[in-house]
Amino acid sequence: MNLISGVDVTAGALNAQKLRLDIVAQNIANAETTRTAEGGPYQRQVVSFATELVKQQANNGGIPLQTVKVASITSDPTPGQKVYNPQHPDAGADGMVTMPNVNLAFEMVDLITASRAYEANLSVVKNAKQMAEKALEIGH
């Protein structure tokens, strides 16, 4: 992967944004989950990114390029909302159920941000390819 230079960096970013989208999907899917393998309601997962050095290539003048990778997926520790629902199987003795700390509005914002970031990286790929094609047009 080195004919269109810089695409390795973008591919890393695309991977990272896609994983972020997957985590948002997981959060939305589990917005009502009150029972998990660890016990208690589902905790919202948060993705954090870190830079990662791309393998140095000779064709970009040996300049080290940094791509992005998902550094960690951590649980959001904020406590979930308590809802009075005595019929719920996970309700406590006082009839209160602890719901997951997923806020759909936050998740939608994350979803749109991830999708826009993905699009931005795709336009980098598109432009890099167009530059390569323009260079090939020199011969015409």
Partner: protein, 114 residues
């Protein structure tokens, strides 16, 4: 296997090879491919194209493998597959350009008045 790197020697050495070949009388008789003396320039020319075609084929195979992985559900990296396909496309265009240039210089030589 860097196509750009593999083309760099191509863009310089063919000229030198063709210069040397144009001095030798064998070039005037391209039909004499069977003779040992004519085999040297023919080899260099075909090796050049072989190398280039091999590079492009490898890129294409990589793109096909990535696409297959996505289609089989083994990888969710749709973008990797599409990027690999685009790379193969650019490598192919590069090969076509180099071929055009080689044919052009060959025809230029054939048109030369001796």
């Amino acid at each position: 296997m860097t196509p750009i790197g593999s083309v760099n020697p191509l863009s310089t050495s063919p000229l030198m090879r063709l210069d040397a070949a144009s001095l030798s009388p064998e070039v005037a008789q391209p039909a004499a491919a069977g003779s040992a003396s004519a085999a040297v320039p023919t080899d260099a020319f075909s090796a050049m194209l072989d190398h280039l075609v091999g590079d492009v084929t490898a890129k294409d195979a990589a793109a096909t493998a990535a696409t297959n992985q996505v289609l089989m559900g083994n990888s969710g990296q749709l973008h990797q597959s599409v990027i690999a396909m685009q790379e193969a496309g650019v490598a192919f265009s590069l090969m076509v350009q180099v071929r055009n240039k080689l044919v052009e210089s060959y025809q230029e030589l054939m048109r030369m008045q001796v």
